[in-house]
């Protein structure tokens, strides 16, 4: 039996009964979703281990790091620059928001028609079941969509400390100036939090760590273009999810080890599904752990997911930061340039996202795109219409699925996804 983490969870102030209930659902769900997949690469064993210890060993690592004087920064969004956190020897972790938990409690603070992601974050906080949140010295909120922006006003009372970063909505010079000013301000805040200084060397080392992590994910993405697909979409998504939790150096090495194995598979024409299996790109809203609902349905319907155009996916990992700068100012510029490439639906116009989806669809040799809109997520649900029109006009079959974390629409989604796969099969 694994280590008993209950004393640690109790010390973190978690509600042990509720937390047991959560793990009691998560464990079997993970086994059923992931362990039953055929032909999994051996190197997925590492990621299975990470997931089995996601509330255990990883939390212990964070607490040990805190005891050694490092700071833990929790975040909900890919706009929070991990480079600056790492530059000051801090640790950035993604916070829990991928499941419905204590929804009734969350709805005491939020309208019912709030997206599942925001409600999930509140539910986890209110039920005291997210050890990452408890371990965080500060939670960084960001003004992306209106839902998050306004929710942080309430969320600040539920956490130790909340820092809110403003994010521009347009990418012109004014927007760039705003993001740059916010990064500088955030850097200064982190300096104060950690008692350390953002030097050129420190920022460069932060950039190098995150670039290496993203480059490993780019390598994985390139390998997923192979037919037969060397890895399932569920496992690909899982790695993109663990991207937000794991130690960056160890994660990078593990992704690269997996990629080595996948290269061997590709050389031997091996895959997790037969050559010619319908290939799907999932595009749209982020899927945080344990939101595996739609990908499970898609792969059970006989298709294979070969990419995620999502914050937990290509949108989060796209583009590296240029690290040639010789001053803190130059490196800040480089960071701002990189982060402004994120084609989040909060931007208007957001032409680059449409182009990115088409480019991904071609590069990954997909047969169709399934657009995932989280209910009540206005930015992505509104973009879904133009995405569908543009892709269909480009000859790429597209299916729109708007859903949330609930299970009551699984039957209807299954029918639509299966019919879409039938359409791709001709």
């Amino acid at each position: 039996m694994a280590t008993d983490y209950r004393p640690m969870w109790a010390e973190l102030g978690l509600d042990l009964d509720a937390h047991d209930a959560l793990l009691g659902v998560l464990g079997p769900l993970y086994a059923q979703t992931f362990m039953s997949q055929p032909n999994r690469p051996q190197a997925m064993g590492y990621f299975d281990f990470v997931m089995s210890e996601v509330h255990g060993l990883r939390i212990k690592e964070l607490l040990d790091a805190k005891a050694a004087g490092r700071k833990v920064v929790g975040a909900f969004c890919t706009f929070v620059p991990e480079e600056l956190v790492l530059a000051l020897d801090g640790i950035l972790v993604g916070l829990c928001a991928g499941a419905e938990f204590a929804t009734e409690e969350a709805e005491k603070f939020l309208p019912r028609n709030t997206c599942s992601l925001i409600k999930g974050a509140f539910g986890f906080a209110l039920a005291r079941v997210c050890p990452y949140l408890s371990a965080s010295d500060v939670v960084v909120g960001e003004n992306t969509c209106d839902g998050k922006k306004k929710s942080y006003e309430i969320f600040k009372d539920l956490v130790n400390q909340l820092y809110v970063m403003d994010i521009p909505q347009m990418k012109g010079p004014a927007g760039r100036d705003l993001l740059r000013a916010e990064f500088v301000k955030f850097g200064a805040y982190l300096e104060e939090l950690t008692g350390k200084t953002l030097t050129v060397e420190a920022i460069k080392s932060g950039i190098a760590l995150v670039n290496a992590k993203r480059a490993a994910m780019h390598r994985l993405s390139r390998l997923r273009a192979a037919d037969p697909a060397p890895i399932s979409g569920l496992d690909g998504l899982l790695m993109n999810q663990i991207f937000f939790y794991d130690d960056p150096v160890r994660f990078t090495a593990s992704v690269n080890a997996l990629c080595d194995e996948l290269e061997g598979r590709i050389a031997n024409n091996q895959g997790v599904a037969k050559k010619g299996t319908p290939r799907i790109l999932v595009s749209g809203c982020p899927m945080a752990v344990p939101n595996w609902k739609l990908p499970s349905i898609i792969e059970q319907a006989g298709a294979i997911i070969v990419g995620e155009e999502s914050c937990v996916g290509e949108r989060g990992t796209q583009a590296l930061t240029a690290a040639e700068g010789e001053s803190v100012d130059e490196l800040m510029d480089a960071l701002v340039d990189r982060y402004l490439k994120i084609d989040c639906a909060i931007f208007t116009p957001n032409q680059s996202r449409y182009e990115h989806i088409v480019e991904l669809a071609k590069r990954l040799q997909v047969d169709g795109v399934i657009h995932y809109g989280l209910l009540f997520c206005a930015p992505y649900q509104i973009e879904a219409g133009p995405v569908e029109q543009k892709l269909e006009a480009a000859g790429i079959p597209t299916l729109r699925v708007d859903t949330d974390y609930g299970q009551e629409d699984v039957g209807q989604i299954r029918t639509r996804v299966e019919a879409f796969v039938e359409r791709l099969q001709g």
Binding site: Q412, R414, A419, R423
Partner: protein, 253 residues
């Protein structure tokens, strides 16, 4: 060899027997609360036939009849529609809890389809709920709607809210017949809006249990600004598609 198509819908189970290029029999039965029992009865003596299933109960069905092949309602109704009207380019199908619009390409393959979301607005279930709220039986409800000189406007698209709205309209003394027509009108408008997402071209076929509703048929054709073809047995088109798919099993193996 006999081919059996079975469509396990939310309200009705449909079975079509097909042999030597002709339909031998069409059968429709209420799903009841025990659809598996109904299926068992409908398949008695047909154990050796080729079997294809569709409908919301198809996966459950497959657990009990593992020899069956399973296809979606969209594919099934497309196959059936095309067999009935070979030049058919699009289908509107309204069943018990689903409504869908399907565009076909020249070869009869599904080119695009759209379906209603999880709620039952715009489906047969919605019609039944509204009929009950207005105190009508199924047949009377259609007849009452056809008698109405004008439609009472219903603004709610959610079945629960629409029911509340009907109750408050009754309290205000609105005509039952006009409300009945209003209910039909709202389904027609909603379905036409849904169909807009599939860019349907004529000739269009109207299938599913609700295609038997003459009032809805008329209003839907008006809302779509296109004539709607009505097959002789609209409720069994998907089951027919399954039987035809079963018939072609040999080509696939």
């Amino acid at each position: 060899m006999l081919s059996v198509g079975i469509d396990i819908g939310s309200r009705a189970i449909k079975r079509v027997l097909y042999e030597d290029g002709v339909v031998r029999e069409r059968h429709v039965e209420d799903s009841s609360s025990q659809p598996l029992e109904v299926c068992r009865r409908l398949l008695q003596g047909l154990e050796t036939a080729r079997l294809v299933a569709t409908g919301y109960g198809r996966h459950l069905f497959k657990e009990y009849w593992p020899q069956a092949e399973v296809i979606t309602e969209i594919k099934a109704v497309a196959l059936g529609a095309r067999a009935l009207v070979p030049e058919c380019q699009g289908i509107i199908d309204i069943g018990g809890q689903d409504s869908k619009a399907i565009a076909l390409d020249g070869a009869g393959r599904v080119q695009k389809f759209v379906m209603n979301d999880r709620c039952a607005a715009g489906t047969g279930q919605f019609l039944e709920m509204m009929a009950t709220a207005l105190g009508y039986g199924r047949e009377d409800f259609v007849a009452a709607a056809e008698r109405a000189p004008r439609a009472e406007k219903l603004s709610s698209m959610c079945s629960v809210f629409a029911q509340t709205e009907v109750v408050s309209l009754i309290a205000r003394g609105a005509s039952r017949e006009e409300m009945a027509l209003g209910v039909h009108q709202s389904i027609a408008n909603r379905t036409a809006a849904l169909a807009g997402g599939a860019s349907l071209r004529p000739p269009l076929l109207f299938t599913g249990g609700c295609a038997q509703n003459r009032c809805l048929r008329t209003l839907l054709a008006e809302a779509l600004k296109q004539p709607l073809l009505l097959p002789e047995h609209p409720q069994t088109v998907a089951a027919l598609g399954c039987a035809l798919y079963a018939e072609r099993a040999k080509e696939r193996s």
